[in-house]
Amino acid sequence: MQLKAKKPNLKVMLTTASCALLGTTATVCAEETWQFDTAIMHYAEADRVSATEAIIAGTKTFKNDEILSLKLTIDALTGASPNGATAQPTPQTFTRPSGNGQYNVKAGDTPLDDTFHDTRVQLTGQWTQPLLKDYTVSVGGNFSKEYDYMSASLNGNVARDFNKKNTTLSAGMAYAYDVIEPEGGIPKPLSEMDVGDSNDPNFNDDFNKTRIASDESKSTIDLLFGVTQVINRQMIVQLNYSYSTVSGYMTDPFKIISSVNKNGESQAYLYENRPDERTKHAFFGQTKYHFDSGILDASYRYMTDDWQIDSHTFDFRYLIPFTNGHFIEPHFRLYTQSAAEFYQPFIAQDEAKPNFVSADYRIGELDTYTVGLKYGMPLGDGNNLSFRLEYYHQTPKDNGTQAIGVLKEVELYEQVDAIIVQVTYSF
């Protein structure tokens, strides 16, 4: 038996502190402690965007099975993102979204805009409690703020158990309101990017002619219906249908599309424009199966919307526990989507200007896959530590647009590699 001074248990100290505030006796309070989860994650694309995200989440169960859950998320984004223009066999110059300066792109390179350095803070709260016999209700809110973006949302849902809790039906609704206020304002859709010299005294006037507003907003309503069914002692299945409708500004104010001549040479860059309505339907199915010691988590999601994007997501995880309480969990995810009907990698100069167009590969035809591994270990006293390492690969694809002239010599659909590293400590 080791003779070690017992380290003060943070969870117990926090509980005693909050118990003192509530004026309850120590023995009663001992049952209701906070459960904390903290994590730090780093996402890094080769030569592109990097993000670091930190989360602190606390959950407390009260006397009559009510649960309060609070979460604080902070993330910071750096690096460069594609601006939507195509690569060219010659160097290119673009104006920064703020209008404060220009940046150059080398011949043959996919144009990347590195102006994005942003920090975001998000607060989430959720309250869940039983209501009458067999009903559970939950309400929550979410607030997120970064330099040029704000999002606020409310959600509520009710679940009802049947058949000795073998079947559960649930229905939920959420409403979100987002505001974007980009530095440099909202660009006039499909107008030409003013690629002049920011130091020129006339530049600001010319730049402002391409702006129509300082901010824009959008509203989202989500509905979710689900059924969970226990199949047997080892297996549970869930099926969900979700409906989502978005109304408002969904254009990316930082993205452009190259307008090219018959030889594929860029003549101008036009600001993209997306519809102001989007309706999505998603069907999701998941199963968890407990083998002799391993646990399989397999899910599939099909999404279809009125932008003509269809997607399929397959996700598999297999948890392998060891006798010492450690575990390893391999993970594999496969994703494929079809292009939005207004997606084009570029516009031909003499083509009739469409109402809506975007060259953002993230709404183009795209295949991605993720392979990863998670390793976890208990640290005693109910504390846990885990590590996650994942590799994420994106393959943007040709949606059928014929490359013309010099565009045949450049990479129009550049693949993206990213690494995800995460450490989680729960106590």
Binding site: T27, E31, K63, N64, D65, K164, K165
Partner: protein, 150 residues
């Protein structure tokens, strides 16, 4: 002594893994026969059931409080592996009678609707009420019902 222990363990293992119900399964009438004349709080629990953990201190309290009034707390463990029950009892001690029903035969006989489940039985051996669940609110009701019978 060692041989007897091994034989007993083998016998217990054989019984708990038997597919068919046999005469060593717990049956309600046998349990009640033993305690006729007492008001009984019959509780069903398992090591994996969190509200069960919360109910133990209260069951200890009422067993002590009404011990001299012909009252008995009988709790039935439904773990398929008796080891898990023992681990639970090591961290959450019980000062009342514990019976083991690893094949769930008594649970099935009484048609439990949830976990934990409890039955309040009067001195004549008749089930007066059946309850599911344990919360701070519920325990007050249970205690009131017991007091009424004593």
């Amino acid at each position: 002594m060692k041989t007897i222990a091994i034989v007993m363990t083998a016998l217990i293992l054989f019984i708990t893994h038997a597919q068919a119900k046999d005469s060593t399964s717990l049956q309600y009438k046998d349990v009640i026969k033993q305690y006729k004349g007492d008001v009984i709080y019959l509780d069903f629990w398992a090591s994996w059931c969190t509200p069960c953990r919360k109910s133990f201190p209260w069951m200890n309290k009422i067993q002590q409080k009404y011990a001299d009034k012909n009252f008995k707390v009988i709790s039935v463990n439904l773990d398929a592996e008796p080891n898990l029950a023992k681990q639970f009892l090591a961290s959450t001690p019980a000062n009342f009678t514990i019976l083991y029903d690893p094949d769930g035969s008594l649970a099935e006989e009484l048609q439990l609707k949830g976990m934990p489940s409890s039955f309040i039985i009067n001195a004549e051996g008749k089930i007066v009420s059946a309850h599911v669940g344990f919360t701070d609110k519920k325990k007050v009701n249970y205690e009131q019902e017991i007091e009424q019978l004593l």
